[in-house]
């Protein structure tokens, strides 16, 4: 199948699934309403926006052309779900940009949709043979026609999306990026820079598997190079010192947590870790423990609670060794 998304690095299965629906859209004029699921910074918005660029206007089974003879694309709008917090607001928004128009609506952070708005969306997005739904609120009725309006949602917290809403949408999960793919994103962001040896792979190890971090790192490299066009391992080691980048891209808080757990080999509770860092228990659990566990640097056991693993101890040993050498 033709690669419809040459701009997007990685995410092969998501791209294939999207390409499948986009190809069938050309003959059916029906694009399923989508829900893109992935952690933050994995490229949900980018993929959604690329999909918007492939959705053209189809009328009576024929592709509508613009004044230059090219397929006319559906207008596309991006809205943050936290802003459409009531039914009248969603109705007013749809009235403004979607009703009786050929559009794609990209609604980001879908886990922030309120319950009442979710109920309305359950009615509007319910799949049915006529591909049309209407919703009445007070004296106003709004009608959605799936041949004209396409909805793309995105969320980093799919578990918080109301299950019946998720059922009405076609879910596309994004994959983790490999180290070479992250390196390619850095290179793509800085096409004029020549990265020597395997420095791109070294850079990729600190990007926490995150495409947005790769782009931000590329910007830091551009700032470091000040117009030069070559970047080698010596430059990378220099940048590591300048920006205090830790191995695996750990944050200073995660390093502190590892040190705290090393000092408490009999185990620590989540409350202990929260008190040590001055963060809430939720923040420690959500923002820091997950990444440490992902790299097997710490573990949680029923009897002891949170402990550092042998891999975590090796991490600290190697890091302290590198500090002494420096």
């Amino acid at each position: 199948m033709e690669n419809l998304f040459p701009e997007v690095i990685g995410q092969e299965s998501a791209k294939k699934k999207l390409a499948f629906y986009l190809n069938s859209y050309q003959s059916t004029s029906i694009m399923p309403n989508l829900m893109l699921c992935a952690p933050k910074g994995q490229g949900k918005s980018m993929l959604a926006k690329q999909a918007c660029k492939k959705l053209n206007v189809i009328k009576d089974g024929k592709i509508v052309l613009d004044e230059h003879g090219k397929p006319l694309l559906k207008k596309a709008y991006e809205i943050n779900a936290s802003q459409i917090n009531t039914v009248p607001v969603l109705l007013a928004t749809l009235q403004q940009v979607a009703i009786d128009k050929d559009v794609t609506l990209f609604i980001d952070e879908a886990h922030n949709i309120s319950r009442k708005v979710t109920d309305m969306l359950l009615t509007l997005l319910n799949p049915n043979p006529s591909n049309k739904n209407s919703f009445t609120h007070d004296d106003y009725t709004c009608e959605i026609d799936f041949t004209r309006q396409t909805f793309i949602f995105a969320t980093s917290e799919s578990h918080s999306v109301f299950a019946p809403l998720m059922d009405r949408l076609t879910r596309i999960d994004l994959e983790d990026y490999t180290l070479p793919q992250l390196g390619m994103i850095v290179q793509k962001t800085l096409p004029d820079v020549e990265f020597q040896e395997d420095v791109l792979l070294d850079i990729a190890t600190v990007l926490r598997g995150n495409a947005r971090q790769a782009v931000k790192m590329a910007w830091d490299i551009r700032s470091y190079l000040c117009g030069k066009k070559e970047f080698n391992k010596f430059n990378w080691n220099d940048l590591i010192k300048l920006l205090s980048i830790l191995p695996l891209g750990l944050s200073p808080i995660e390093l502190n947590l590892l040190r705290f757990m090393k000092g408490n080999p009999n185990g620590s509770s989540l409350t202990n870790l929260a008190a040590k860092t001055g963060l809430s228990r939720d923040a420690v659990q959500r923002d820091y423990e997950t990444y440490l566990q992902r790299h097997s640097l710490m573990e949680i056991t029923a009897g002891k609670g949170r402990t550092i693993t042998s891999k975590g101890l090796d991490y600290l040993k190697n890091y302290d060794y590198s500090l002494n050498i420096a």
């Binding site: 694309l73 809205i79 459409i84 007013a92």
Partner: protein
């Protein structure tokens, strides 16, 4: 107490006078508001009849609140995605 006694819900329903209308000559309105950009509240039905499209509806209480400076009218930031 009767079985059919009505339950009174405080705050429910329309406020007194909220659905009655008055006629005011346009010149009187203009003389009242020196700034021609002043927001004038009209019913959505009236606005539609005189040909205004794509209006954002807001609850009456919210509109009155915004006039009194108590709350902002709902505005949703809608970004058009560049298709180039």
């Amino acid at each position: 107490m009767s079985d059919t006694a009505k339950i009174k819900r405080p705050g429910a329903g329309r406020t007194k006078g909220s659905s009655s209308f008055v006629k005011i000559p346009l010149k009187d309105l203009i003389s009242k508001f020196a700034d021609l950009n002043t927001q004038i509240v009209v019913s959505r039905k009236y606005a539609e009849v005189v040909g205004f499209d794509n209006l954002t509806s807001n609850a009456a209480t919210k509109i009155m609140g915004s006039i009194a400076g108590e709350q902002q009218l709902t505005t949703v930031e809608i970004k058009e995605i560049s298709l180039d």
